[in-house]
Symmetry: C2
Subunit: 344 residues, 2 copies
């Protein structure tokens, strides 16, 4: 049985998908009032309010231990910034014989690691029990039942298939992938490039430039992922043929890489794009944060990847320049003059 | 000295770029009235009307032989449908010792060949004297002097560099490429995929799907180009390192491939997208043509590539389905159900 941890828009979308595919879910929601509202009104009053649930398929609970204990497969779908406090108080025994699905986009702040490394360190969860669900998938389009593709990644490809089959509905197609680290890094990188696209927009570059910028970002991303992949192959866990493409190397044009980059960079409503646009217009990072009352994911991602790339050593002139604009006071116009020089 | 053949929006944009970079141009314009208007008013009254020229750099002429005779480098910038009638009456001697730059996007109708093959057959122009200029480059953004990237492709890379240097301005960056056939096919293929994106939009697919569709289109395009490239390598003209990427194979994420695909697919104003949208909404090809009073490039391109791929034999489920929708009465919704199955 599935458990879902979190009640934001992405968690709510995943709850809709699983229940629409007929699964009973154990749903952990911190706020007791929200639980009461979903029970009585059959919808989440805070996110995707147009989505109504079949109550007979929901077990709502604010005791996290109980939710995990009752579930074989636990979907972690809280924002990455809240992972630490959400899981605090659990211990290794909670995760014994559980499969974990990460629906988290981003690196755990402070720790600067992917969720799999965090779960291994704190709770002894092994990589073979760990899966990732990613899309190019705005939760709003799930609510509207617009056809979307979810990619399930895991080193245990058979189990990934089995898990994915529970998410298949009229409006969800599923793709299997085994590049478990690569897909997670891609989900982090896309936010940096989308933030950069916002900066470019703020600097009044046009559509011609944007398409060149995004194409080169896709290439830069693939270069990083290829290096991460090589590391991974060296440790011997990853050297199989891709089950979808029958290629050894992942297909970086697949939806979970290029598709997700495109939907994030071209979305006018993304927080990364809005944040970047303000930076491009001349706001400081601090005043953009105050004005928007949020931190765009790409902001922390830029620093995480910058630090990480000291080891990986991929060529990342775009991501590094976005980092320097955000973290080292390089003027956006000057930074983009440097980016202009490397685009092909 | 440069000659430009044609006076549409793309020809006008190229005339602006060359004169802004200080080049004197011989400009062939069929219509004598248009010539008079450009001479007196300093702008083309029909296209990019906001662009004003330095008249001292223009030699306007409606005698094509004179324009070619006076020029070392001739830019052919008429729509591909008019190439035949425009060049009719010329002979092999006209093109002796000339470099030709194709600014044509598409395959010559009726002949079903790229411009280089057409010029070789009719006028004995060899591939080493033939170059292609392509971008992700809306002419309107050139008029507005928004930074854009033009890629110059040729088997003679040194000459391609020299040609490109004449197009470098404040708002134009240039890229060199030697995949002379690949870039031309990419410019044809992008129109098919953009028309398909329009159909998807007409069928009310959302942004999540569109990003998956475009990512997979990029991959399908690269697969076709790789096969064209392999053919090309076999005949021994092409087996050098790419001067920009230092890779043997072209970098299909570069602006001339992926960038141009993105700007075409995501542009809401492209004729391919508008045409496709009507097909998706249920219009027949004929009624969409009548209603819009034009034929989208992707319509003929779909048939050209379908026929060509009988030899190349690349896997092209997306382009072939778009072909069947346009040319074999497959219902758009049924065609896209088939496309859905192959996306990853």
């Amino acid at each position: 049985m599935f458990g879902i941890i979190g009640s934001g828009s992405w968690a709510t979308a995943l709850a809709k998908i699983l229940t629409d595919s007929g699964q009973h879910i154990n749903w952990w929601i911190r706020n007791v009032e929200t639980i009461g509202q979903i029970q009585t009104r059959r919808h989440n009053p805070h996110y995707l309010t147009s989505v109504y649930f079949n109550s007979s398929l929901l077990s709502l609970e604010n005791d996290l231990r109980k939710v995990i204990a009752a579930s074989d497969i636990v979907v972690i779908a809280v924002p990455s910034a809240f992972v630490g406090e959400t899981l605090a108080g659990l211990d290794t025994s909670c995760f014994e014989n559980k499969k974990i699905i990460s629906a988290i986009k981003g690196i755990i702040p402070g720790e600067n690691v992917l969720l799999n490394a965090y779960l291994l360190k704190l709770f002894g969860v092994f990589l073979e029990d760990y899966f990732v669900v990613l899309g190019p998938c705005h939760a709003e389009e799930v609510a509207a039942e617009k056809l979307s593709y979810l990619t399930f990644s895991g080193t245990d490809v058979t189990m990934a298939h089995e898990i994915a089959s529970n998410f298949k509905t009229d409006y969800i197609n599923t793709v299997i992938n085994h590049d478990i680290l690569g897909v997670q890094y891609a989900a982090v990188l896309k936010n940096i490039y989308a933030l950069g696209a916002g900066i470019a927009h703020g600097l009044e570059y046009g559509d011609n430039f944007l398409s060149v910028y995004i194409a080169n970002s896709a290439d830069e991303m693939a270069g990083f992922l290829r290096k991460v992949g090589i590391e991974h192959i060296v440790v011997g866990e990853h050297n199989e043929e891709d089950p979808v493409t029958h290629r050894k190397a992942p297909n970086y044009a697949a939806s979970v890489y290029l598709g997700d980059l495109l939907v994030t960079c071209y979305s006018l409503y993304s927080r990364n794009r809005t944040f970047g646009n303000m930076i491009g217009k001349g706001y400081s990072v601090r005043s953009a944060q105050l004005e928007l009352n949020m931190v765009a994911e790409g902001y922390n991602a830029a620093k995480c990847i910058y630090d990480l790339n000291k080891e990986i050593m991929a060529e990342m002139p775009i991501a590094e320049t976005v980092y320097r604009i955000l973290w080292e006071n390089v003027k956006p116009a000057e930074g983009f003059k440097q980016i202009e020089e490397v685009l092909v």
